[in-house]
Each structure stands twice: as structure tokens, then as C-alpha cells.
């Protein structure tokens, strides 16, 4: 029997924290499918990556280029975090007071490490938007950003390998949901991201 927790499902009463997936902005931007694992109100929500991995949480490191305070009654902050492939939209509201205060304190531009939950929205004109609700955001240095690019490139390539050979349920689902996406473009995304690191 497989011991992969994905295959055996959640055990009653045993808490397992969802891992933070590593994904480039260019791939996250392509997400169009979001689902719940289970019927429970508290069941986790996942965004399905085109390369066939579900993510409830992501870890990203990039440059915070802009931030903006919004709202009158319910104050929240929006920010843009740029990686070599594109832009992540991050937000922190009054339900995440600590994350909001962390974000409020940071002066742009700065390298930041963000842990957060991706959410898929559809705008009134039909466009899709993935934004990341921040759990924590800290200022880091370029070294950490470079490590993240290596890490994320390796994970992305792993997923592409799994996708081409795979019969994993999430890969099958991704093939259904994203029939028009050729995942090999993300290989180029990874290459370009790696190539931007100068030693």
C-alpha cells in the first residue's frame, strides 16, 4: 500500500499541514480551476496548477514593487510581487492582522518571502485573477530569492516530468481542465528564470 498521504486521504483527527508549493507567477496566472477537498465547511480549498499539482498554500520570493492601502471600514493592503516570470498579486486584510502589519511596514522595492493561500477570482468582465492571501511576509535578501528560483525551477521541472508520464489523479484532472495548455512552456519559464540569475 502506498504511504503517500495524498492516496490514503486524511486521517480523522490527525492534523496535516498543507505544504507550501513552489510555483512561478507565469504558471499560477494560468490557473482556472479551484476545488474543495471534501464536503465539510472547513475542508481546504485548492487551486489546481496546469502542471497537475493541487495547492492550498504557496511559498514565493520576489520583489515587492508596489503596495497600496485600500478600503475604509475594512482596511486591506494589496501588493505586487515580481518574480523572473511575472507578477503575483498579494493581499492582506484585517482578518490577517499580523500579515497586514508586516506588509504595511515594508518599503518598496524589497525582496520579500511570502507564505500565503492562492485564491481564484473572476472579474465582472470574465477575466480570471489569482491572488495570494498573505499569511506572512518578511524582507529577505537576494540570496534567498536566488535559492527560491532554483527550488521553484526544480519543482516545476519535476511536475512537468510527472505530467508527461503521470497518471496521478491531479495530473488527469489538469489535462481535463486545461486542454489548451502545453505544459512544456513552463520548462522555458524555468529556464528563463534560471538564466536571469547572474553569478
Amino acid at each position: 500500500m502506498s504511504t503517500n498521504p495524498r492516496d490514503v486521504g486524511r486521517r480523522e483527527g490527525v492534523f496535516e499541514r498543507e505544504p507550501a508549493r513552489r510555483v512561478f507567477a507565469a504558471e499560477l496566472r494560468e490557473c482556472r480551476y479551484q476545488f474543495k477537498d471534501g464536503e465539510d465547511e472547513k475542508s481546504p480549498t485548492f487551486v489546481l496548477l496546469p502542471t497537475g499539482e493541487r495547492c492550498n498554500r504557496i511559498f514565493l520570493v520576489g520583489t515587492l514593487t508596489e503596495k497600496q492601502r485600500q478600503g475604509d471600514q475594512n482596511i486591506f493592503y494589496r501588493g505586487r510581487v515580481v518574480d523572473p516570470s511575472g507578477t503575483f498579486y498579494v493581499m492582506a486584510g484585517s482578518y490577517q492582522p499580523e500579515a497586514m502589519q508586516q506588509l504595511a511596514k515594508i518599503d518598496t522595492p524589497a525582496f520579500v518571502a511570502v507564505v500565503g493561500k492562492p485564491n481564484l477570482y473572476q472579474t465582472p468582465d470574465g477575466a480570471f485573477l489569482v491572488s495570494v492571501r498573505v499569511e506572512s511576509i518578511t524582507v529577505v535578501d537576494k540570496g534567498t530569492r536566488d535559492l527560491w528560483v532554483l527550488d521553484t525551477a526544480a519543482r516545476t521541472l519535476d511536475r512537468i516530468d510527472m505530467f508527461s508520464t503521470g497518471t496521478k489523479p491531479d495530473v488527469v484532472k489538469a489535462k481535463e481542465q486545461y486542454p489548451n495548455i502545453d505544459v512544456t512552456v513552463f520548462r522555458k519559464t524555468a529556464y528563463d528564470a534560471l538564466a536571469q540569475i547572474r553569478i
Binding site: 505544504p19 507550501a20 511559498f59 511570502v114
Partner: protein, 413 residues
């Protein structure tokens, strides 16, 4: 005392069955039973023979001594199945306080094959049994509750003190093979946890070569704490299940310290990943100064067991989550690791706390800002998904890895 003759005898028995056993090994087992546990030499010989027979999967063959003139229908405890009416002979190895007035006595009865929980109903009018004595129990019923067997002594059961008077040295089983019910193990105390209840004397983790298990000792007269790092023979502990994990209740157990050491499994783990969360209770903390307690206490200096302790001891720790992208590990860093990772020593942390309006929070925030979102490699011991790190170092950029990834990504373009 000389054991070579007995050892030779046992070794011969096995070679007749086609199995070679080193007499030296037998001799040391015998010596241990007799010298350390005060077992009769004949009983020791029988016990060792049976242990080896079990090890080599041979039918029980211990005969010398020990064996009493039991009746044919007498059952061994290990062979009983729920729903059966049985007659057994066993020793009361533990008595526990009855949980209901309908129960006269409850505890654990054992023979040389194992132990079982028993309940004597008040209505059964059974004689009062004493701990350490042997009884013959006729027509009792084995039943099962939540997967745990127990022996019910009811009004149709006959209980007689039996003439047997022997030391009982049960076989220990590897932790990995423990099942619900009664268990005997030889294990090392590898962790001690903060007590979560004021009636709790001690809780923590025991481990052997095959795994680990949580244990608890409730406060009760005569109960003593186990020492972290020591090895114990634990006989007749209650094995319960909680949140689909087994745990041991040691209140019924006979516990003997052992001078040897065991190599506990899960000893060396290396995890490389990003620190994605720093939990409250990290940074500068206060610990209870009472000898043997050392619990983390509240900011108001309240220890859950020893109440207000104004003479607390300061300590550093970081609790958090270390994430590889595939799996998240609960991470625990102790003072020396925290100091080298954050560059903040205990002394400077105390200074920061004293000279800042935020006090201890300031230490937490500084540590959080230094380690959160960073890549590290941690070495340590992982138990139940909790990684107790001996070292935790920042990851550095490897240009070789960079080049290899460029090749991998560019290879198929």
C-alpha cells in the same frame, strides 16, 4: 553462579530441532533473569527456551520446572479470543481503582504468555484478589470493548488462589508490533513533554529500534517519573488508541530500569526546506525552575503544575514549520541551535526584552524577521512528524546546482 550447563542443555534442545543457538547468548539471557530479576534458575531456563522458540518460530518447548499440573481445558492468556468462556491461571500484576460501584476489582492478570485486563463485578461475590498472587479463574468470559479484550469475572466464575508462586518475566515486544490491550516493552525515554493536565505526572515519548510511542503516567501514590535518556523494561502497560495513534498508560505497569542502551529509530533525519511559519511560544521563554519540571510557563509566571514561579529560568526556542514544497515538518529548535541560527544569544535576548517597550515580543519579532521565509538545512531526530533539530544552517547558493538545473530545463528546448 554457573549457567553454562543450563545453556548447554537449551542449546542442545534447539540443535535437535535443527536450529543453532549460541550458548553464550543463552547464558547471558539466563544470567540476566536470575541475577537481575531474581528468577528461579529452573523458571529462567524455561522462559529463555520459550523466548528462543518464539524467536525461531518453533512450538513452545519449555518444560523444565515452572509447568504446573494444569487441567487440559486451561487456556493461555495469549490464546484467548473475545466471546469465549475460559479457565485460566494467572498472576495479578496490577490493580486499578474501579471506575464504577458495579465493579469490585479491576486490573491486569498475566501468565507466561501475556496479560489481559480484567473486571470482577461486584455482583460476582468473587474473593478479593491481591496484587502479586496467582489465581485460578474458572468460567470467566472474554469480551471486547473498543478493540481491547478484557476478562469478566461474573457470578458464575470460580476464583481460587492457586499454589503457584513464581516470578513472571514477560517477553517484551518491539514498539512497532504493539497492539491495543496490554503491552510489555523495553524502551528508552526520548522526550518529556509539558504536562497538559494537572493530574498528569509525566508524559513523553518512548522509543526502541522499531518505533516510538507516546506514554503517560497519571498522578497516583508511589508513582515516579521516568528519566529522559534511560532505558526501562516496562511490563503490563495499558495500550490505548487515541486519534488513531497508540499510546501507553504506565500506571498499571511494572517498570524496571535497565543499564543498557538502545539505538532508537528515526535517529537521523535531514530536511532541507524553507521556514514558512514561526509559532507563538517561540523566542525568549520562561521555564519552571522546580527540579525535574522545566515546563514552559506563562508570561505571568504560571506553571500548570507548580503555579506561580517568580524565580523562573529564561530559555530560547523556536517552534515552527519547515516546508520542502512536498511535505511540512513541525520544527523545534532548542537554545544552542536558535543562538547560532539567529545570532541572538540568550544573554542578548534578555537584554533586548528588558530594554524594549515590547519586552519578550521584541525578541520574537526579531527572530521571526531573521528566519522566516529563509531556506535552511536541519539535521535531527524526527518523531511523529516533529523534527527536533540538532543543527539548523542557512542554505547557500550552489552554482553547480544552478548549472545542472539550467541543463535540465534547457535540455529539451
Amino acid at each position: 553462579m554457573d549457567f553454562s550447563e543450563a545453556a548447554e542443555r537449551i542449546s542442545r534442545k534447539f540443535s535437535q530441532k535443527g536450529t543453532e543457538v549460541d550458548p553464550k547468548k543463552i547464558e547471558s539471557k539466563l544470567r540476566r533473569l536470575v541475577n537481575e530479576f531474581g528468577v528461579q534458575p529452573s523458571e529462567a531456563e524455561r522462559s529463555v527456551t520459550n523466548e528462543l522458540a518464539k524467536e525461531f518460530n518453533l512450538p513452545a518447548m519449555g518444560t523444565a520446572g515452572g509447568k504446573s499440573s494444569g487441567t487440559a481445558d486451561r487456556k493461555k492468556i495469549a490464546d484467548m479470543t473475545p466471546g469465549e468462556w475460559v479457565t485460566i491461571e494467572g498472576k495479578i500484576v496490577a490493580l486499578s481503582a474501579p471506575v464504577s460501584p458495579a465493579i469490585a476489582q479491576s486490573g491486569i492478570i498475566a501468565d507466561d504468555t501475556g496479560g489481559i485486563r480484567f473486571v470482577a463485578w461486584a455482583k460476582s461475590n468473587a474473593p478479593v484478589m491481591t496484587e502479586g498472587s496467582w489465581y485460578r479463574i474458572e468460567s470467566a468470559v472474554v469480551d471486547e470493548f473498543k478493540g481491547i479484550s478484557s476478562l469478566k469475572i461474573h457470578s458464575g466464575t470460580t476464583v481460587k488462589e492457586s499454589g503457584t508462586d513464581g516470578a513472571l518475566i514477560p517477553d517484551t515486544v518491539p514498539i512497532g508490533n504493539l497492539q491495543k490491550g496490554i503491552g510489555c516493552i523495553r524502551a528508552k525515554v526520548i522526550q518529556e513533554w509539558d504536562a497538559s493536565h494537572e493530574r498528569m505526572l509525566q508524559s513523553g515519548l518512548l522509543g526502541d529500534e522499531t518505533g516510538t510511542i507516546k506514554f503517560v503516567i497519571w498522578k497516583e501514590g508511589g508513582k515516579e517519573k521516568l528519566t529522559v535518556g534511560s532505558v526501562y523494561n516496562i511490563f503490563y502497560a495499558l495500550v490505548d488508541e487515541f486519534n488513531s495513534r497508540l499510546s501507553l498508560n504506565l500506571n498499571t505497569a511494572t517498570i524496571l530500569q535497565d543499564d543498557s542502551d538502545i539505538q532508537v529509530s528515526g535517529g537521523d533525519t535531514t530536511v532541507r526546506g524553507a521556514i514558512v511559519h514561526i509559532a507563538p511560544g517561540s523566542g525568549l521563554i520562561k521555564r519552571c525552575p522546580v527540579e525535574g519540571c522545566n515546563r514552559a510557563i506563562s508570561r505571568q509566571n504560571y506553571c500548570p503544575v507548580h503555579e506561580i514561579q517568580p524565580k523562573f529560568i529564561y530559555d530560547l526556542r523556536i517552534k515552527g514549520w519547515l516546508d520542502t514544497g512536498e511535505k511540512t515538518h513541525n520544527l523545534l529548535l532548542q537554545r544552542d541551535v536558535v543562538e547560532s541560527l539567529t545570532g541572538i544569544t540568550l544573554a542578548s535576548a534578555q537584554e533586548i526584552a528588558e530594554n524594549n517597550p515590547l519586552g519578550m515580543d521584541e525578541v520574537f519579532l526579531r527572530m521571526r524577521d531573521t528566519v522566516l521565509g529563509r531556506y535552511v538545512t536541519c539535521h535531527g531526530r524526527e518523531i511523529d512528524n516533529r523534527l527536533l533539530a540538532n543543527t539548523c544552517e542557512r542554505l547557500t547558493f550552489e552554482s553547480g546546482e544552478h548549472a545542472a538545473l539550467l541543463n535540465r530545463a534547457g535540455g529539451a528546448l
